[in-house]
Amino acid sequence: MSGVAATILFLGVTLYAVLGGADFGAGFWDLTAGGATRGRRPRALIDAALGPVWEANHVWLIFCLVVLWTAFPGAFAAIMDTLYIPLAIAAVGIVARGAGFAFGKVSETLSEQRIYGAAFAVSSVITPFFLGAVAGGIASGRVPAGGGGDPLGSWVNPTSMLGGALAVVVCAYLAAVYLVAEADRLDLPDLEHYFRRRAIAAGIVAGAIAFAGIFVLRDDAPRLFDHLTGIALPLVAVSAVCGLTALTLLCRGASRAGRYLAAAAVAAVVGGWGVAQYPFLLGTHLTLTAAAAPDSTLRVVFAVFVVAAVTCVPSLVYLYVLEQRGQLDSH
């Protein structure tokens, strides 16, 4: 049962990375779109694309938190009371980001929109960075099973910095790829071109960081490295192939398929992390089985998951379909 719960948890992490990640990335492009006049059209596309779906995309984070604390309560407490600094910063970022976005959408004057837009954009970069750093701290085994680990060293370390940087770039990459498709759908060639250039650049940077990451992990998190290059190697390879194909497609001017491949590349990496951790939840000191809640609790988690799959997934598909058909209007 603990394996099932862990799979559900990682599925949540993956979906958050792919869907929530694109949302964060859109904020990155908002931040870098330049002055009010120059950045006007890219920002408008970002607003239109994000509007209806952002909240749904972020519920995945809540999903991960509740599954973690219900199914693996000790590990949740240990992570929280070790990595509290980056987690608190991420929480602040989430508030600033959500509020900034929602307010910016309905406000009227340029100066108001600037303030809210800035809050949204800056926190869209800060939040994934610190969440990535948290992932790095967990992945490199820096969270003791009983909690109370080093409050600084647990996230100021090579693997965490790698995680943070990778999270930011990957989010930017995903967002740019989605926005290319969105611009294509709305028949806006100038914006399609705009985001295509950025998608390619972000893809190359993400690839480079991932490559450099291999050396970082070899020194800093040898067990993770061994498993990523061992048992999880197929997933890493899938990720590389998908990433490269997506890039090629982007360069050739295709946009729709690129979106799914880019998402698959990210999903495969997150999945690879999960496989590489197995059978441990924290470092090599806390196994999934030891950390798991009693089976009756895990069965509830599983049941909730099944109910979510049959209710939320079709609803979510309905939402995305309505959005793609242009039936949801952001103002």
């Binding site: 809540i62 949740f76 929280m80 309905v106």
Partner: protein, 474 residues
């Protein structure tokens, strides 16, 4: 000063800031909850009326309410996310020991929030382009998910008051009975009380906006319908709320006697216990300060007879008592304002029975325009009774709050950051809503629809890219 009231010697230094932060963030989140739970329901009533009777005024109200709901829902979602973090950041001792039981309702809640977020998006953004009836039906799941979400969160909270459904061995939870966790002893009265509170607070607050506008002379049909729909909903809920509150009080009397003694300000175990309004208690159990005493009433209310024996709070040592005065005053506020709101609902019913034109009764409108604020204060007070009254336990009788709190440094800092951040968010929410209201008023005065507001991003996208910006969108 506060620390003198609520802290005891030997408490970890993190306890006070952690409790303050938890109370503050919950107190803000709970303001948004009624809107998340009930606002879309109010909009749907107007929406239904608009579609069935071809009532354009009702439709306009429904659309605008759902736009306001969108903003408040976003703030509710982010403040709720912060709470999820805080459960781990501030109370790791709670999650470590009881996550496997206490977490269950939250896992179910996640499901409801998911559905809510999805259908809120469809309903709110579907106004312009979806067909009317499918759009209306897309709003229904929001209402149902709001109810489900409330029941689940409250299942978690009531479990803290009436923990059940788990077996401990050597201090570790070794087995869990999910049904007993969810349907714990305090579940039904707390969840129904909160659900009604959500409709009461949202109804009175929204209605109050239109009551205030009518007082300023805007007595057209738009304002009248905008007042009547939410206010009627809240007024209908009021009598039920009192009945549920009364049974809640009896449950507390039977199951959390010390909390009850604090609520009623009863120091020594006694029959013929008086109901005290106002007043304060010293740790030694002396009652002082200005107060009104109604002999025997507390006994009467808790056991139908003045001879009912009521336990006093000095029956447990000071370390096991909640901050009595805070609990007692909060209780007085809830019951006092709750009774006043019931009176307002009765007044409303009377005016309605006599077919009076409500909009002409200035005093009624005055009362109605502050009812929302009063309901909000009532709800805050109720939560203070529940949460502060449970102290010194975080899980009643099982785990002390001081043993659950984080040992990390910097809680004061995080409290300060949260305080500043939430103040900014609150101010921005207020400004944004005010500017939306002004824009609508201008649009109504000019006789144009809302879609003519020239700021939508879609508009910028449709424009020719090479033409210079006509209007300002960042």
């Amino acid at each position: 000063m506060l620390s003198a009231v609520v802290a005891a010697a030997g408490d970890p230094a993190q306890l006070l800031p952690a409790r303050t932060q938890m109370a503050f963030t919950l107190g803000i989140h709970i303001v948004l909850v009624p809107f998340g739970v009930a606002f879309v329901a109010l909009a749907l009533i107007a929406n239904y009326r608009g579609l069935r009777r071809g009532d354009d005024v009702a439709l306009r109200l429904a659309e605008r309410w759902s736009r306001v709901a969108a903003v408040l829902f976003a703030v509710g979602a982010v403040t709720g996310t912060v709470l999820s973090f805080e459960l781990g950041l501030l109370w790791p001792g709670l999650m470590r020991r009881f996550g496997q039981a206490y977490g269950i309702p939250f896992a179910i809640e996640g499901l409801f929030f998911f559905l809510e977020a999805i259908f809120v998006a469809i309903y709110i953004y579907g106004w312009k382009r979806m067909r009317p009836w499918p759009h209306f039906w897309a709003g229904i799941p929001v209402v149902l998910a709001g109810i489900g979400g409330t029941l689940s969160v409250i299942a978690a909270n009531s479990w803290m008051n009436a923990p059940a459904g788990y077996t401990l061995r050597h201090g570790r939870v070794v087995s869990v009975d999910p049904m007993k966790v969810i349907f714990n002893g305090a579940f039904w009265h707390e969840s129904i009380h909160m659900l009604l509170a959500a409709y009461i607070v949202a109804g009175f607050l929204v209605g109050g906006v239109y009551a205030a506008a009518m007082l300023r002379g805007r007595r057209d049909r738009y304002h009248r319908v905008g007042f009547l729909i939410p206010f009627t909903v809240a007024a209908i809920a009021m009598p039920f709320q009192i009945v549920v509150g009364d049974s809640a009080a009896r449950w507390v009397f039977n199951n959390e006697p010390v909390k009850f003694a604090a609520m009623e300000l009863i120091p020594k175990t006694t029959r013929d216990a008086p109901e005290t309004i106002g007043g304060a208690a010293s740790q030694a159990g002396e009652i002082h300060g200005p107060k009104i005493t109604l002999p025997g009433v507390a006994s009467l209310l808790s056991g139908w007879s003045t001879s009912t024996r009521v336990r006093g709070f000095t029956s447990v040592p000071p370390a096991d008592r909640p901050p009595v005065t805070i609990v007692h005053l909060a209780w007085d506020v809830m019951v006092g304002l709750g009774t006043a709101l019931l009176g307002l609902a009765a007044w409303f019913a009377l005016l309605w029975r006599r077919r009076r034109d409500l909009t002409r009764s200035t005093w009624f409108l005055r009362a109605a325009s502050v009812a929302g604020m009063a309901a909000l204060v009532t709800m805050w007070a109720g939560w203070t009774v529940t949460e502060v009254g449970r102290q010194p336990y975080i899980v009643y009788g099982v785990l002390r709050t001081r043993d659950a709190v984080t040992r990390a440094d910097g809680v004061w800092l995080s409290l300060a950051v949260v305080f500043v951040l939430y103040t900014l968010v609150a101010a921005a929410t207020f400004l944004v809503l005010r500017s939306m209201a002004r824009r609508w008023r201008r649009a109504d005065a000019a006789g144009v629809g809302d879609s003519d507001v020239p700021y939508g991003p879609a508009r910028v996208l449709e424009a020719n890219p090479s033409s210079p910006a006509a209007t300002g969108t960042r």
